[in-house]
Amino acid sequence: MSTFLGMPARPPRSPYGTGNLRGDEPFPRAAHQELGNAQLRRNLGRATTTIRAKRLNATGELPDWEALREAGSAIKTDALNRLPELLEQLERKVTEHGGTVHWARDGAEANEIVTRLVRATGSGEVIKVKSMATQEIGLNEHLEAAGITPYETDLAELIVQLAHDRPSHILVPAIHRNRDEIRQIFLDRIPGVDPELDNVPAHLAAAARAYLREKFMTAKVAVSGANFGVAETGTLAVVESEGNGRMCLTLPETLITVMGIEKVLPRYRDLEVFLQLLPRSSTGERMNPYTSLWTGVTPGDGPQDFHLVLLDNGRTAALADTVGRAALNCIRCSACLNVCPVYERTGGHAYGSTYPGPIGAVLTPQLAGMDAAADDPNSSLPYASSLCGACFDACPVKIDIPSLLVELRHQHTEQTGTTAEKLAMKAAAAVMKRPTLYAGAQKAAGLGRALAGRDGTISRLPPPFGGWSDSRDTAAPPRQTFRAWYASAEGRATLRAAADEHDRGPDEHTPDQGEGGMRRRDGEHAPGQGEGGTE
């Protein structure tokens, strides 16, 4: 138990303007552009449908799936609660087994540590295992600026890197590209590739294999992320499919692993839960083809120089938020992306962050903040959702993403102070309290019909409601308010007819008369319950 002198300080977010946790423009604008990309929507629609079906099969196979989710969620929550002792234990165990542990306050510091370690080996290049953490901190860009060439070895990351593109999905970063595009990227960018290369995925994969084989055989340094780090034993885990991970983790002399501090698990045994949750949630497989577990350095097997970089970069800021810290439970399986109707249509680039989709919309503002003053793209992320809840259902560690989004919307509104929307809401509250004003306002709202198109929808509202209509159509208000209709001769006649029919009871009721009528069995009529409502 620590003793605190005074108020604990609120930990800082990832510094503004560094790394890849902020896009160039707000989500609605970015999404508008992406929505125009028919190829993207076709690829995504097919891909997410396929993974969704596979995931349901794989999770449905396990009768204890819900119990595994419960355990997974509790293990992560427990780990975050005990983070100081677990990180120290992890450090001690890795060090005992011949590894070296480094700590990085933010992405810039992590980049500097990795660069220094690579330089110390004398190597001018590194091979990389797909890693969200190094993507988040922009390690590749930093290494290139320092004159070190990073080679991505995951097939999708390679495609993205060769095309000078950005990943658009946590699990399958090049999901926005089709086989023809990939063929062209390989023809243009892989030195010495067969000019007759066709677009068959197996042939494209073979071309990547031939290209990277040479790198694997000669590289002196590898950089990886980690899916899990076990405090109890100092064991690190990388979960993958292609074998490029095994190559990087095994063949070079030096291995540098960058791991977010939230990836720690208390016990080795906890792997039994996550090795079931992760593959089934992410690719819909019973198990991914390859998982590597290593503890420090093993003489005669694998890299003899191992470094673990523990990264904060806004994670402690998220941890300091009672609601938002649940987002740190994320194991990056991408199940929430694949079920999200918003992600399925906009793709990953619209989110502007390394972490796209529902979890990205929560995690990104948590790590990097929402700047109240500027037109911060991250401020738009909590609104990049229909709050349908499919992500919550799919999440293997039961992160209540919709509630976190609502909380972030609340925080954003609190931060921004007085906005046009807020003023409008205040005005609405004032009007609703006064019946005459309310009736008048409803009449005025009828004027909205003048704005509506022939389809009865309004596609553009005047300020301050413009923000609303930018991203959705609004139904035109009805011709008549309910109060006006109720007071009219037509309204009174309709209600009287309905009441008469009701009083006749069910025996006289014929199906033909039933359309739109009210029904009530005799004796059900409770005293004082007026049938048409009284004011």
Binding site: A71, L83, P84, P201, S241, R246, Y290, A320
Partner: protein, 210 residues
């Protein structure tokens, strides 16, 4: 200046003080300690391996050498690598070149091998997974990775029913590799392609009476 270590740990402590949450017990209501009769375990393990495009050969222990030699012959493997501690009797019927591995053999020479034969530490029937832990019959990790064909001998008695039962058999400090089928990718339009960087073919010889 405060070290990054102290700063980060200090931030973690501050964060937990600012947002305290109650201690959480981990409910372990999921299935553990499962057992399955040999026949069912063999059937399940085989089904899962085949589903992942692995080639499976069940046999009795005294037939190991014949089955191993047959597989290597069928795949045209003339030059194979083996861990220094592999049971030499398994190769009694093989007439190709056998190169025992040592830690100083460079990866490029492993690349010139047609196949590798290893033992295994454990298996998991429900997921079709083989566990290698670097002990003497399994060799270093590079050996089972670089050659294009991996022939792995598994004793059925070491195949657990589910993941928790299999993880319980592991020694955490050993470099451990979990293998479920051959190398695969689904990165291009989600079309599964077997064989990217790891071995493109996985053959599992299951010794059913051990």
């Amino acid at each position: 200046m405060t070290s990054a270590r102290d700063t980060v740990l200090g931030r973690v402590r501050d964060a937990l003080a600012l947002a305290p949450t109650p201690a959480t017990a981990v409910p372990r209501g999921y299935r553990t300690g499962r057992t399955l009769p040999d026949g069912e375990r063999l059937a399940l393990f085989t089904d899962r391996l085949v589903d992942y495009k692995a080639e499976v050969h069940p046999c009795t222990a005294d037939r190991t050498a014949q089955v191993v030699a047959g597989v290597l012959r069928d795949h045209g493997a003339r030059r194979i690598g083996v861990p220094a501690g592999l049971d030499p009797r398994w190769l009694d019927a093989y007439d190709g070149e056998v190169r025992p591995d040592t830690a100083d053999i460079p990866a490029r020479q492993l690349d010139a091998l047609d196949a590798v034969v290893t033992a295994s530490a454990a298996g998991c029937a429900e997921t079709g997974t083989i566990f290698l832990d670097g002990s003497s019959g399994q060799g270093r990790r590079a050996l089972s990775l670089v050659p294009d064909l991996h022939l792995c001998v598994v004793d059925l008695s070491a195949v657990a029913a589910g993941v928790p039962e299999a993880v319980a058999r592991l020694v955490p400090e050993r470099p451990t590799t979990l293998i479920s089928g051959p190398s695969a990718t689904s990165d291009i339009e989600l079309e599964r392609v077997e064989g990217v960087h790891g071995p493109r073919r996985l053959v599992v010889v299951i010794r059913t009476d051990r």
